[in-house]
């Protein structure tokens, strides 16, 4: 059973398309949802929560349809919104216990879980004081606690580090990682910061202007490329010339020379050329994909296999992706 499955999910607002035919399947772990501000991350989360109806397409969460079983889905998931959402005049314990009851926990259990969850996210004596006096970091923890208090099967976090200083950011990311690994709760974390996603997530979903750019395990995005990077202190142009004369496909980028690895191994050739020209060599390494390439459209795209799917756009189409799926017409139906 996939945790989340969407089919041609589209959301149009008057004059704008927030989501454009997202077809996606996620099986669990910690999923990073990346995209620039306004890319459609929050809209996707709200549709998955059943808070916003899609214009067309469908979405299943925990094997339940968001259009018809929204209430049952919401009992089993937790949601931490990006914006402020805490009343200042009640204490952390009171508020989280109230939210636990709103999730269906009996009053006693709600109180116990509220105290325990606040302790797990790192709120101790402060939890009896009114929330209005909390620091941003403490408020973010309360927001996380209210999403966790009913022990959800799946947690949606929308920009959980929003407004935090670097230290608070580190602590929150460590906490998210811990919730995902130690607590064993599946997480979908939306962020516009690739660095954050890289640090805590196992799987990455990238959207851009409402379209799915990629969905694959994180490792796939940083896989080795078929390019050898040779960096020299100077004389990169002479090195490039020598290698080109020897019949290799090369390009020069500042002080580095990129050698295409297709064909016979070029390592001896590079070593000899550098030695002959007497160049100061800095490093020789096989280049890795970088997460940033996703939004730059430079590198050829990551291949996806099995159940991971990739939306067809120019970059994805250029990649040798056996399972690249077009927006699936089957089962598509208009909802409104």
């Amino acid at each position: 059973m996939p945790l989340i499955a969407t089919e041609s999910l589209t959301k149009r607002y008057p004059g704008a398309i927030a989501l454009d035919g997202i077809t996606l399947q996620l099986d669990g772990g910690i999923v990073g949802l990346v995209g620039a501000n306004g890319a459609g991350k929050s809209t996707l989360i709200k549709i998955l929560l059943g808070l916003v109806p899609p214009t067309s397409g469908r979405a299943m969460v925990l094997d339940m349809d968001t259009a018809t079983q929204g209430s049952r889905i919401r009992q089993r998931v937790g949601y931490m919104p990006e914006h402020d959402c805490l009343p200042p005049d009640v204490s952390g314990t009171e508020f989280v216990a109230h939210m636990a009851r709103m999730s269906g926990l009996p009053a006693d259990a709600a109180r116990e879980r509220a105290a325990e969850t606040l302790r797990l996210v790192g709120l101790y004596e402060e939890r009896y004081r009114p929330i209005g006096g909390y620091s941003t970091g403490m408020q973010q923890r309360v927001k996380l606690a209210q999403a966790l208090v009913h022990d959800p099967a799946l947690l949606f976090l929308d920009e959980p580090t929003s407004g935090l200083d670097p230290a608070g950011r580190d602590e929150m990311l460590a906490l998210v990682r811990r919730v995902g690994t130690d607590f064993g709760i599946a997480i979908v974390m939306a962020s516009h910061l690739l660095g954050e996603v890289e640090r805590v997530c196992d799987h990455l979903v990238a959207i851009d202007s409402g379209r799915l750019v990629a969905s694959a395990p994180l490792a796939r995005f940083t896989a080795l490329t078929r390019v050898l990077t040779v960096e020299v202190e100077d004389g990169a142009d002479r090195l490039a010339g020598a290698l080109a004369n020897a019949g290799r496909a090369v390009t020069r980028e500042g002080r580095t020379v990129l050698v295409d690895l297709d064909g016979p191994p070029p390592y001896d050739l590079v070593r000899d050329a550098v030695a002959e020209l007497g160049l100061p060599l800095v490093r020789v390494e096989q280049r890795r994909h970088q997460l940033e390439d996703l939004f730059r459209g430079e590198a050829p795209f990551v291949a996806s296999t099995g159940d991971e799917q990739m939306r067809s756009d120019e970059r994805a189409a250029a990649a040798p992706a056996p399972s690249t799926t077009q927006a699936a017409p089957a089962g598509q139906r208009d909802r409104r």
Binding site: H83, S103, D151
Partner: protein, 312 residues
């Protein structure tokens, strides 16, 4: 009983090893009571909040004070009756609303923002709507909480007056049996006026996240509409040849005044003759009941629509 503090948890688990408080994450395996329970909890939470229960002392003062004020006419009447007999009866069940209607409105103005505006102000709605509750559940729970609080103000003083009047009589039992229809009338009229005030107050509060605007809006609407209704109703067109047909036109403006509508409705229940502006308007009593219910219905519709549409 519940393991509240870290100390309480650690005491029986850590033995001699010192302060290890982290027991790791515990799965919740207890009951999940679902949507109906969440609705009930929100309703009770809202009802308690209406009287400032679970809030600071300061937020208890106004609602409980207003409730006390609504009781004052009944207590005075009972005191006077006990001391001086029944010669004077300024406070009766059928005019109780005209005496404490303002108190009910002020109660609505104080409490409706707590129920209708506060969660908007602090953006808490998205946390409710991402749980078992539906948007409609939220709106209905808020309406029900305010209605219940309003019924307490509308009904308790009148029942105090009714039962108290019986007790100060020489023969309470025969008084109660002679007036056995009164509890039903108190209940019926109380429900109508409580619905009317609740619908109007929560509708106005739900339209703004700002508490001050909500309170001001409720008070302003009520008293401006009252003033306008009374003013127009007090105009008598100069008598003309055709005047006999049209003189009552302006008098019907009493329907614009929420207080006069409530007063007329209550008098219809108790079957007493209308006075002043209501007498001049000369409308059938049930028209006021209908008007009160229409006001309530419009208010409820506004609340439902607002929480159905509001972004969260």
């Amino acid at each position: 009983m519940s393991a509240d503090g870290p100390g309480a948890v650690s005491a029986d688990r850590i033995g001699t090893s010192g302060s290890i408080y982290d027991l790791g994450y515990q799965r919740y395996r207890g009951q999940r009571l679902g949507r109906a329970y969440a609705f009930r909890s929100l309703y009770l939470h809202g009802l308690a909040a209406s009287f400032g229960i679970g809030r600071s002392t300061r937020s208890k003062v106004i609602p409980i004070g207003l409730f006390a004020i609504a009781l004052v006419p009944a207590l005075i009447e009972l005191g006077v009756t006990a001391l001086a007999g029944e010669a004077l009866r300024p406070v009766r069940l059928d005019n109780y609303f005209s005496l404490v209607g303002t108190v009910m409105v002020l109660f609505g103005a104080a409490v409706a923002p707590e129920l209708g505006s506060r969660d908007q102000r602090h953006h808490v709605l998205s946390l409710y709507f991402s749980r078992a509750l539906e948007r409609r559940d939220y709106a209905v729970a808020r309406l029900a909480a305010l209605l219940t609080a309003m019924l307490a103000i509308a009904l308790i003083p009148e029942f105090v007056l009714y039962l108290g009047t019986a007790l100060v009589r020489s023969d309470p039992v025969s008084y109660l049996s002679n007036n056995a229809d009164q509890p039903g009338l108190i209940l019926g009229s109380g429900i109508v006026v409580a619905l009317q005030v609740t619908g109007v107050a929560l509708a106005i509060a739900s339209l703004t996240p700002r508490r001050a605007y909500a309170t001001g809006g409720i008070v302003a609407y009520w008293f401006i509409a009252d003033g306008l209704g009374s003013l127009i109703a007090s105009i008598t067109p100069p008598p003309t040849a055709a005047a006999s047909q049209f003189t009552s036109w302006t008098h019907d403006a009493v329907l614009l005044s929420p207080s006069l509508v409530g007063d007329g409705a209550v008098r219809w229940f108790f079957g007493t003759a209308p006075e002043d502006a209501l007498a001049r308007a000369d409308l059938a009593g049930w028209v006021y009941v209908l008007a009160a219910l229409v006001y309530a219905a419009i208010g409820i519709a506004v609340v439902l629509r607002r929480f159905h549409r509001i972004a969260a």
